[in-house]
């Protein structure tokens, strides 16, 4: 009877993992546009650093489509390669992309600051509202990154939920519904879910931390129980074999 229950648990676990895995990449995308009645002149679009090959192109489209009136670029720490002169700094690449995709120079705003993480990016963005409190900012990032950006915004900008929107740019490096089939898809999805867990624990405080500890304990307990059942089963079957051999 026990092996039947074990098989049922195994099948159920496989089905759960397959269903969860299928949506592990899709659920990260929480794109939303809530510009409301903010006029174009007071709407800014900003592409978060880390995807000059995609996010900046998407931000340029938002400007060209008449949704935003200004394109903002976050100030960044120059990478090692940029310091060595091997490549251009990322903010400079972003500026060149905007210029070549039809954004006039006077509609590009370079923010002061040193972007290092999603958190510092949002902190830097907050300086925009110091100068223009009515501004609406459209934050453009990769689809998998939007949920973590939304979480960070909710915690760092709690008083201004209607002052920003988060939009995902198209993903062409991997198919979101088959993310595990490519190396990039797996790397992005797994790493982003882990980072999200870290951010959730950090912002969620003791409640989320307790939840993670409980889930972790349950998984460890289940694994130990499964292992001990397996070893018990093996011992029993080997004893049976020995008895059969003796008889």
């Amino acid at each position: 009877m026990n092996w039947r229950r074990g098989m049922a648990c195994l099948v159920l676990t496989i089905i759960t993992v397959m269903i969860t895995a299928r949506f592990a990449a899709g659920w990260l995308d929480v794109s939303e546009l809530r510009q409301g009645n903010t006029p174009r002149e007071q709407t800014y679009v900003v592409a978060l650093p880390g995807g000059t090959d995609s996010r900046t192109f998407a931000a340029a489209v938002i400007y060209r489509e008449g949704i935003a009136g200004t394109v903002a670029i976050l100030g960044e720490l120059d990478s090692f390669a940029a310091e060595q002169g091997d490549q251009l700094p990322t903010w400079r690449i972003a500026e060149l992309v905007y210029r070549s995709r039809g954004v006039p120079q006077d509609k590009i705003l370079l923010l002061a600051g040193k972007s290092q993480s999603t958190e510092t990016d949002i902190q830097q963005l907050a300086t925009l509202w110091e100068h223009e409190p009515q501004a609406h900012v459209i934050i453009v990032t990769s689809a998998a990154h939007t949920r973590r950006v939304a979480l960070t915004c909710r915690n760092l900008l709690p008083k201004a939920p209607e002052r920003y929107s988060i939009l995902a740019c198209p993903e062409d490096r991997y198919a979101v519904d088959r993310w595990w089939q490519t190396e990039t898809g797996m790397r992005v999805t797994v790493a982003e879910n882990l980072k999200l867990a870290v951010y959730a624990a950090r912002f969620g405080g003791w409640k989320v931390a307790t939840l993670f500890v409980l889930i972790g304990s349950f998984v460890m307990y289940a694994a130990r129980r499964y292992r001990s059942q397996q070893s018990h089963h093996q011992t029993a079957s080997s004893e049976r074999t020995t008895i059969e051999c003796v008889s």
Partner: protein
């Protein structure tokens, strides 16, 4: 590393300095590059294409740009790249190749080469992983960069070992295709959420 090998550049922190040192030591006869498909930034001319960029960076380190050879083919990923390299090595049966990559990608590169090329060819390929100077390898968990590099390395390694070569390699969209997809993506959102814009239109 065999005497006078061909060096294939896959990346790595300080890879251009490393190659320049090999050339000065007379250990490198030519530098090989796999020509990846044109990225959107290359397409619109914001950054030079990979071959031009590599030659420029090597020349800055005192290496003669004429020793750079591009391996034919436009591989979409490392598995394709290994096949292009195999084909080049079949045409050059006496040559050895020394692949230079990031330290935490070394095992991945080796696995791909061993799985996708003939054993006789794989035996003529050595792999060197260059240590990332931006974090201390033994204390990788102490820096953000260390976490990123090590985590990505393990995830990629797990994928390469579990799934092998992808059935269909993904080709990046061109700048125009990408922008069209973005327009299609935002139009429904605009119609629903931006009444001010609709009114002005």
């Amino acid at each position: 590393m065999p005497q006078k090998a061909n060096v294939l550049l896959d990346g790595g922190d300080g890879c251009f300095d490393y190659v320049a040192d090999l050339v000065r030591d007379n250990s490198c006869s030519q530098v090989l590059i796999l020509q990846t498909p044109l990225s959107r930034l290359e397409e619109i001319g914001v950054i030079p294409n990979a071959t031009v960029g590599t030659v420029k960076n090597l020349e800055r380190g005192g290496v003669d740009g004429r020793i750079v050879t591009t391996i034919p083919g436009r591989p979409l990923n490392r598995w394709d790249g290994a096949l292009c390299l195999e084909s080049w090595m079949q045409d050059h049966p006496r040559e050895f190749v020394h692949v230079v990559c990031e330290q935490h990608q070394g095992r991945i590169v080796r696995t791909i080469i061993d799985h996708s090329t003939k054993p006789s060819i794989a035996a003529r390929i050595t792999v060197a992983g260059l240590q990332d100077q931006r974090f201390v390898d033994r204390h990788w968990w102490k820096s953000r960069r260390g976490w990123t590099v090590v985590l990505n390395g393990w995830i990629s390694f797990a994928h390469v070992n579990s799934f092998g070569a992808p059935d269909d390699a993904t080709r990046s969209l061109s700048a125009a295709e990408f922008e069209n997809r973005m327009i299609k993506k935002i139009h429904p959102l605009v119609e629903e959420h931006v009444p001010a814009l609709q009114a002005s239109k």
